[in-house]
């Protein structure tokens, strides 16, 4: 029986050193709400847990340059309770609110929701739509990567051995812009997204959509950024015709599977519905965000 070790480094450098030293048999322990279950079911058998919660900068929410830096170990509840962040990025908070129960969000982190690499992670499409960037630190230094490039497949990330996502950077929020995330689940809470849709859009003074980002979750092997869906909104007043094109583009981008949570057919249909409803909420929020 191999011994499972636990370390709680106080600096990022120590954390990176521990992770790189373990030759892939280490796991980052942030909130632990996915990791502990995977360990319990025997799906993973790490030899070292590196608890990153003692590294101060990973637990910070910092406003700066008009945007935000969220430490990767910030819990869901901390982010939800951050009034200014919630005002600027309500769609991201929509996503975070849906990560499990209050109990789970009391532990689960935004970085963990990303790095667990579930195609159905609720905060990820919202972060992708928001244009968030992951800051990554590893044995060979720091780099930045768009959130949509971090996950490459179920349970798989583009992180190299020893690399940690340390924070997520949210850009400045333009005037007349708004975001929203909606998901479909059979139950009202405590469920895994069958389809998730994040929409972030900006309007001009006439109410024409000038910029948009649309992302979908649970309809492919990872959360998708869907430029064609965004293109359906840009240049429109986000009217019924635009929404119909949005739904069609969203469905075209999906490559869902049949599984215990929903059929392929159902996911395709519902993706279009959810993305339109999310766009409607984002539109309302953009109209209200007029300075």
């Amino acid at each position: 029986m191999s011994e499972l070790r636990y370390e709680a480094p106080k600096t990022l450098a120590e954390a990176v050193a521990l992770l790189s030293g373990a030759k892939g048999r280490a796991r980052v322990l942030a909130g632990g709400t996915d990791l502990l279950i995977q360990m319990r079911t025997g799906r993973i058998q790490p030899e070292l847990l590196v608890d990153i919660k003692a590294v101060p900068e990973l637990g910070e929410i910092v406003a700066g340059n008009g945007g935000y830096r969220i430490g990767a170990a910030v819990t869901g509840m901390q982010l939800i309770e951050h009034a200014d962040f919630a005002k600027r990025w309500p769609g991201v908070v929509d996503g975070v609110r849906l990560i499990g129960s209050l109990q789970v969000k009391g532990r689960a982190t935004v970085g963990g929701n990303l790095c667990n690499a579930s195609p159905a992670a609720d905060s990820v499409p919202a972060l992708i739509a928001a244009g968030a960037v992951a800051r990554i630190v590893g044995p060979h230094g720091a780099r930045e990567a768009a959130v949509e490039t971090v996950v490459v497949g179920p349970g798989k990330t583009s992180l190299a051995v020893g690399e940690i996502v340390t924070s997520l950077l949210l850009p400045p929020r333009p005037l007349r812009s708004g975001d929203a995330y909606l998901r479909f689940t059979p139950r009202s809470e405590m469920d895994i997204a069958v389809v998730g849709a994040g929409v972030n859009l900006t309007l001009d003074a006439q109410g024409i959509c000038t910029q948009a980002r649309v992302a979908l979750g649970a309809v492919a092997s990872r959360a998708l950024l869907v430029p064609a869906a965004a293109a359906a909104l840009i240049g429109t007043k986000v009217d019924a015709a635009a929404l119909a094109r949005l739904a069609a583009a969203a469905r075209d981008a999906c490559s869902p599977i049949d599984d215990k949570r929903g059929s392929r057919e159902f996911r395709l249909r519902t993706a279009g519905v959810m993305v339109c409803r999310a766009a409607g909420i984002a539109l309302e929020r953009a109209r209200r965000n007029d300075g």
Binding site: F184, P186, R187, S188, E189, M190, I192, K260, R269, T270
Partner: protein, 759 residues
């Protein structure tokens, strides 16, 4: 037993005192199965089959036994084989030959999760490690999961020696159809010939789990002289004792079972699983052994209820009289025979007064865990089909669905198709109360629908024991053997005893007696707890009262006939010429030791005369036409409960049953992959309702007293789960104008029905 007290005289029955088990439960003191520990205890764990169907060629436990910290390992070789022997337990009878195989596989494994070995070790982690070291050589066999497929002649066969019982002549080929049942009355063909409108439909339901939040847990300690103490979370400690004794070929007196507080059962804790394993592991290791199931084990290996395939045909005349009713019920039994198809067949049409009925039932084995009882076993499945068809028939006849039911309702004296005439029942009263309820007339919004359905359950009595000990200060220790499976029967029993003795409720302390201190008690099932337990407690209290009267007659030197018991006192009979100073219970108790000894009453009865229960439910739903999502907006459950001893706890039974029914209707189901492995053995993907899924569940308690019970009690716990499946399906069907016949009404299924609707 009767001589019911009139309502007007009741002081405690019908009030709402605080439950005696309450403070322990809100402070964390209450001890459930996993909360009991003994010094030196080991942890037991079970190795389970990863295959749905396979022959066990060999089991090698040597590496596991060699692991430091492992103290004992058991396999099939540690348990005696059992011949076919039937006994009553739960729903259908059980066969000990099957029970021993379900507890520990012998020749074959028959489902994903079937136990093949168990270990006892010094810690959970060592036990888990040991399981990995046990080598089982399987010959994997083809499997069958679906009930309709299992019934086909070419289906993979679970039991090579199983020939369908109940058909004549005896079949020459074995089959997964373990049993065929038939109930009929009148001339169904003639009835359909006379019908002016006929509805014919086929319905399907998926297996659902009882979903108790406390996983099965037990602790066994076996001594060197063969005495066993067992603590377990059970609905029937006497039945568990009986089954352990039988399976381990022990004398009953050697096993003492103490039931822990039970964290939900709903029928799922009627049957033994790990208990005999823990006893033998303890015997082999000479240490106490504790075994707690994981949630995954609960889902994979303890009984869900059957999935069912039900065909219904109903005919009626244009004036709304049903002329003929036919149903075929095909139920999954899981790995071994014994589904709830018999009670389901007997419930299917019992709400109606019918001249021509035919019901056929099939009990079908397939590669799933052996089903267990679940709250009114089988009745919800049958009622889903029949009440959906009734709703459709009422619609075709353009008759209000409650009115249609009233036109055909069973009443006192109605001849059932399975046997007896019905006694005093309150079905019509529930229908009338539902029709008069404001809910039934409240306006509905767009994409909303209202559904009505009704439920019937027999309720049972059975063997029951209780002791009423009068303490030396005049307070009472009440010991009963029907476990309080949480509905509050312990409070209700104490209330009835306090009522009988004329003392405050708080002066009666009820406890559940273990198997060593009381006579036999059947499992708490069939809604018998407050009915039969109450009857035993009242009988015991009345015996104590007789003894109190006798003692006072001796003390006061008067004839016993001159002494009556009233308001907590022995006093002169009214109108009697013989006068004496009354004595309170406390006064008698203080003198008891010096006047012949302490006073107690006890009862060991087999309670008869259970009163059938009927309920009528109304539900409003909203359907999201784009996603197929259903939201329950409003729910009203009306039920004849006989008499509510503690109305708040009776309301709780109705609300809980309805919530389970809503889960069954909307989202709960066992999902198997093509490999025959259960895909959703957890609370994340087995979706029981959460608080935000449900509205308030309004209750209306109709009280048509059961004449056979001293306080008019009918059972009340099972009826409320019967109607919700059909009520919700009817509501959704009305909202969409599409008849939905398959459960659960999960969003993908509803969305598909909307999409497939002919334009």
């Amino acid at each position: 037993m009767s001589s019911a007290i009139g309502t007007e005289d009741l002081k405690i029955v019908g009030s709402r005192p605080l439950r005696p088990d309450g403070v322990d439960k809100v402070t964390g003191r209450a001890r459930y199965g996993a909360d009991v520990s003994l010094p030196g205890q080991l942890i037991g764990k079970v190795l389970r089959s990863p295959h749905p169907h396979a022959r066990i060629l060999a089991i090698d436990t040597s590496l596991a036994l060699a692991l430091p910290g492992v103290k004992a390992v058991v396999t099939r070789d540690d348990f005696p084989d059992m011949p076919d022997e039937y006994a009553a337990a739960g729903e259908l009878t059980i066969n000990y030959r099957d029970v021993t195989r379900n507890m520990m596989a012998r020749e074959k494994v028959l489902y994903d999760g079937h136990p093949v070995a168990a270990v006892a070790a010094i810690s959970e982690s060592v036990a888990r490690e040991a399981l990995k070291l046990i080598k089982v050589d399987y010959q994997v066999l083809p499997h069958v999961i679906d009930v309709r497929e299992a019934m086909r002649p070419d289906a993979p066969l679970l039991h090579e020696a199983q020939y369908t019982e109940g058909v004549s002549p005896k079949p020459d080929k074995p089959s997964n159809i373990a049993k065929r049942l038939e109930f009929s009355r009148g001339d169904v063909a003639a009835g359909f010939a006379r019908a002016e409108v006929i509805v014919e439909r086929e319905f399907n339901t998926q297996p659902v789990h009882q979903g108790y939040i406390e996983p099965q847990a037990c602790l066994a300690s076996t001594t060197e002289d063969g005495q066993v103490e067992l603590w377990t979370s059970t609905q029937g400690h006497f039945m568990f004792r009986a089954q352990c004794a039988k399976l381990l070929q022990m004398e009953v007196s050697r096993i003492r079972v103490t039931p822990t507080e039970i964290g939900g059962g709903f029928g799922g804790k009627n049957n033994i699983y790990n208990e005999p394993l823990a006893i033998v592991l303890s015997r082999k290791s000479h240490r106490p052994v504790k075994m707690v199931m994981s949630r995954e084990e609960v889902f994979r290996a303890t009984g869900p209820t059957s999935g069912g395939n039900v065909k219904v045909r109903l005919g009626a005349t244009k004036d709304g009289r049903i002329t003929a009713a036919f149903a075929e019920l095909n139920f999954q039994a899981g790995a071994y025979p014994g589904s709830s198809v018999a009670p389901a067949s007997m419930c299917a049409f019992t709400r109606y007064d019918l001249d021509n009925v035919r019901v056929i039932g099939h009990d079908v084995t397939c590669n799933r865990p052996k089903v267990a009882a679940y709250r009114a076993p089988g009745a919800p499945i049958a009622a889903f089909a029949v009440e959906s068809a009734i709703d459709e028939l009422a619609g075709k006849l353009a008759i209000d669905p409650i009115e249609f039911r009233l036109k055909n309702a069973a009443r006192e004296g109605t001849q059932t198709y399975y046997g007896p005439k019905l006694g005093t029942i309150g079905y019509v009263e529930t229908l009338e109360a539902a029709r008069a309820h404001p809910h039934y007339r409240a306006p509905l919004g767009p994409d909303q629908g209202r559904g009505v359905a009704t439920g019937f359950w027999f309720n049972i009595g059975g063997e029951t024991s209780a002791t009423v000990n009068i303490n030396e200060d005049g307070t009472v220790a009440l010991m009963h053997g029907t476990l309080d499976v949480a509905g509050g029967s312990r409070a209700a029993m104490a209330m009835m005893v306090a009522e009988e003795l004329g003392i405050p409720f708080e002066q009666v302390r009820p406890i559940v007696g273990d198997t060593a201190v009381l006579g036999f008690n059947f499992i708490t099932a069939g809604s018998r707890g407050t009915f039969a337990g109450g009857m035993a407690c009242v009988t015991a209290a009345r015996q104590a009262i007789d003894r109190l009267r006798t003692r006072v007659a001796a003390i006061r030197e008067v004839p016993v006939e001159a002494v009556i018991w009233k308001d907590g006192q022995a006093r002169p009979a009214e109108g009697s010429a013989i006068r004496f100073e009354p004595m309170s219970l406390a006064q008698i108790a203080r003198l008891a030791g010096k006047t012949g000894g302490t006073i107690a009453g006890h009862a060991e009865i087999n309670a008869q005369g259970a009163g059938p229960g009927f309920g009528t439910h109304i539900v409003d739903v909203a359907v999201d036409r784009e996603t197929g999502a259903i939201r329950v907006l409003r729910y009203t459950a009306v039920q004849d409960v006989g008499r509510a001893i503690h109305p708040a706890y009776v309301e709780g039974q109705l609300q809980g049953g309805v919530a389970q029914g809503i889960g069954w209707a909307l989202n709960e189901e066992y999902v198997y992959g093509a490999d025959g492995v259960l895909q959703n053995p957890g609370f994340l993907d087995y979706r029981i309702p959460v608080a935000s899924d449900l509205p308030y569940i309004d209750t209306v308690l109709v009280e048509v007293p059961n004449p056979n019970h001293p306080y008019g009690v009918r059972g009340c716990g099972e009826v409320p789960i019967i109607a919700p499946l059909a009520a919700i399906a009817n509501a959704v069907s009305h909202a969409l104008g599409i008849r939905l016949c398959d459960l659960p009404l999960s969003p993908p299924r509803v969305a598909r029905a909307i999409a497939d609707r002919p334009a």
